[in-house]
């Protein structure tokens, strides 16, 4: 811990294609400002099309359709280069923090012609299957997460979770098969808290 600052972390595990994982918790009581947020993902190929929404005290900061890869640092990118620093820090006081990570949320839209058949803006309600945050759940520990079983557009019916398990996303809209995505992978969310 740096004096006056704290990096509060949340760990999530994504087990299969299209999975949505919700978490909530409380900001550290000794810190009054949220200054930044970043993600790290163990498997980079899973990033594109995955989204991450974030709320503080039930007020939206990042929409659920915010792309995860814009927030991710890893072996090639330093955390400072990718952390989203809020120019106006968000006041917190033991605030309720919530987030939803959705794997491959945008890929499912590529081959879906039920909306915007000629192309155009995608309504926010189309980006994710379910837009509502899970409210009222008594899960306040960052070590816990609720798995929301939303079926993916092309998710395999079952995926083993052992080492070497693999799932290949569908290619409804793509002429070539994309790189395979390996599951499970972990997502770590880092919140930069400050005392002033």
């Amino acid at each position: 811990m740096i004096l006056g600052y704290r990096f509060q972390k949340v760990s999530l595990r994504i087990s299969r294609s299209g999975q949505r994982v919700y978490f909530n918790g409380e900001s550290h009581k000794d810190f009054s400002l949220l200054k930044g947020i970043a993600l790290s993902v163990g498997y980079d190929s899973a990033l594109f099309g995955s989204t991450f929404g974030f709320r503080v005290d039930e007020k939206k900061v990042l929409d659920e359709s915010h792309e995860a890869h814009l927030l991710v640092f890893g072996s090639d990118v330093a955390p400072n280069d990718r952390m989203l620093f809020f120019e106006t820090p968000i006041p917190i006081q033991s605030s309720k923090l919530e987030g939803i990570y959705t794997d491959s949320a945008l890929q499912s839209l590529l081959g879906n012609i039920s909306y915007s058949p000629g192309g155009g803006v995608i309504a926010s309600t189309d980006v994710n299957v379910k837009k509502t945050y899970v409210s009222g759940k008594d899960i306040v520990s960052y070590s816990n997460a609720v798995v929301d079983n939303v079926p993916a557009y092309n998710a395999p019916t079952s995926i083993s979770l052992g080492n070497g398990s693999m799932a290949i996303p569908g290619t409804a809209a793509s002429p070539t098969a994309p790189a395979p995505v390996y599951y499970p992978y972990d997502v770590k969310i880092t919140l930069l808290l400050s005392q002033k």
Binding site: L62, H66, P91, Q107, L110, G119, V121
Partner: protein, 142 residues
């Protein structure tokens, strides 16, 4: 929470036809008061059409705010699949009328020439729909 706070509002749109411009016409949420930064990124789709990790321009975007009263300008949209891709916002200071329209046009530049329609009239089978997202860094009074 203070009365005004920062939010990040994405506006995704899908490109389905290489030769047809995409019209953007959407109402911004009424709680957005000011746009302080804009970023336009490729989301998904182009990686299915190319093995390159970086293409400087996959299309041109023209954006207008406040019911077409404020023309933000033209933006080149790159495809950047590299880890070190820039994620910086372009600075802006646009006061938003409550409930006003965000409008614009997007012109695709992928598979628009002979590579799309060959001399014998056949079309490429490499085309993939793709999604581009406009990110607005905004001040909200929600």
């Amino acid at each position: 929470m203070t009365k005004t706070r920062i939010i990040y509002h994405p506006v995704p749109f899908i490109v389905r036809q290489p030769l047809t411009p995409v019209t953007i016409n959407t109402v911004l949420p009424g709680h957005i008061r000011k746009v302080t930064g804009i970023k336009v990124v490729h989301s998904v789709g182009v990686q299915f059409m190319t093995t390159a990790a970086y293409l400087p321009v996959i299309g041109y975007l023209s954006l207008e705010f406040n019911n077409k009263c404020y023309h933000f300008g033209h933006v080149d949209v790159p495809f950047d699949n590299r880890a070190e891709a820039s994620d910086a916002y372009q600075d802006a200071a646009i006061d938003i009328l409550p409930g006003s329209l965000l409008t614009g046009n997007y012109e695709n530049k992928v598979f628009t020439g002979t590579e799309y329609q060959k001399a014998d009239g056949t079309l490429t089978d490499k085309w993939s729909n793709y999604i581009v997202t406009i990110y607005l860094k905004a001040l909200s009074d929600d």
